[in-house]
Amino acid sequence: MIAIYFKGLIHTLPLFFKGLWITILVSGVSLIAGTALGVICGILRTIRKWGISRLMGFYADYMRGVPFLVHIFIIYFILPEVGIQLDPFPAATIALTVYAGAYISEIVAAGIQSVPKGQMEAATAYGLNPFQRLRYVIFPQAIRVILPPLVGEYVLLVKDSSIVSVIGLTDVTRVGWLTVQRIPEGLMVFGLVGILYFIICYPMIHLSHYLEEKISYESQ
């Protein structure tokens, strides 16, 4: 029996690779967009004026407090009621982008705040404008603090992308869910799903550890 199921699983392998491609695509697009959003919000978060920093703080708290599942339901089921109809792919991308953006903004803000205040004052005294100060003084130093947790956050992003399967996007998890209806060998099917995620996430986790060690070694 198991041999027949195994054969069946081999036949559905192309579907799994298609699903893997969707997973990579949806997390890749949200990774880029989320990083951009996170950097902007992280910079805004360090502005202690007009309640901007408090607003960004609430954005981060909201995303930290509300499960991604609820978040994606809100985007997929509630936006149509205000007239914004979204297909599963854009809805998933937007949900992941906004979600990852919040976490990345916290990482970026922490990175910027880790740079000693004197650096900023010295840059101002040199006559650099705010953009130049960020570009040439703050970021080159902050990036060392930002990079390791940022890569860690990307791992979370890939893993969270499995949840977009609930709105019908056929990523790896959804392919597994569909397959298990015909091949009732849950361990085998979801073992394969796990292996596919493992191939993406494991190297990224190690990259994050490597960066962390390298940076703490350099700063000694």
Binding site: Y62, L69, G186, F198, I205
Partner: protein
């Protein structure tokens, strides 16, 4: 449509939401309890001398951390019946949540133990404290102190993750929102209420975490 936002229907569904909230709380509570046990054991094995045990703990931690919880949940949900292990949905959910969080807790506890300078242990030994006394008065107070904010952070993640058990039809907070959304066609009312309840839990835990951190700083100052 948002001008038709109906607080009346939310009120009607409040008993269901409160049941869901209660289920979310106790499922998370039991899961974090088992996760702590699993995490401390896994961490102990990882720091142990036995190469085989070390390897097993390493494989467990790495494979959990590299795969999504949803895949793990489906793995147990669809996989355990084929092994003739019959758990109901709630038990399967708790199993998946506890195993998942256990791997992260193992890393948190390890970081806490590693963070204590070896000089502390040496000084305590020089003071004539035995192993238990060293643990009780020197190592654990420091290790636990620094890990508790991280553990509370992990608990926040666990509460959020527990929403996924709604996908294997366990009635908890998210499921309550889904039910209201589908029965009354009111996704906004359903999911915003759910989000509000989750935020409430989040702010309570965050407050506790901050309070503990301030206490730590205060204790260090004295």
């Amino acid at each position: 449509m948002l001008e038709h936002f109906s607080f009346r229907v939310i009120g009607q569904y409040m008993p269901l939401f409160l049941r869901g909230l209660w289920a979310t709380c106790w499922i998370s509570g039991i899961s974090i309890f088992f996760a702590l046990l699993i995490g401390i054991i896994a961490c102990g094995l990882r720091l142990s001398k036995g190469r085989f045990l070390k390897k097993i703990a390493g494989i467990y931690i790495e494979s959990i951390r590299s795969t999504p919880l949803l895949a793990q949940l489906y793995f147990f949900y669809f996989g355990l019946p084929t092994l003739h292990v019959n758990l109901n949905e709630v038990q399967t959910g708790i199993l998946a949540l506890a195993l998942n969080s256990g791997a992260y807790i193992a890393e948190i506890v390890r970081a806490g133990i590693v963070s204590i300078p070896s000089g502390q242990v040496e000084a305590a030994t020089a003071y004539g404290l035995n192993y238990l006394q060293r643990m009780r008065y020197v190592i654990l107070p420091q290790a636990l102190g620094v890990t508790i904010p991280a553990l509370l952070g992990q608990f926040i993640v666990l509460v959020k993750d527990s929403s996924l058990v709604s996908l294997i039809s366990v009635l908890e907070l998210t499921r309550a929102g889904q039910l209201m959304a589908s029965e009354r066609f009111m996704p906004a009312e359903g999911f915003f209420t759910v989000a509000a309840f989750y935020l409430l839990i989040y702010y309570i835990l965050k407050y506790l975490s901050n309070w503990w951190q301030n206490r730590l700083i205060y204790m260090e100052g004295h």
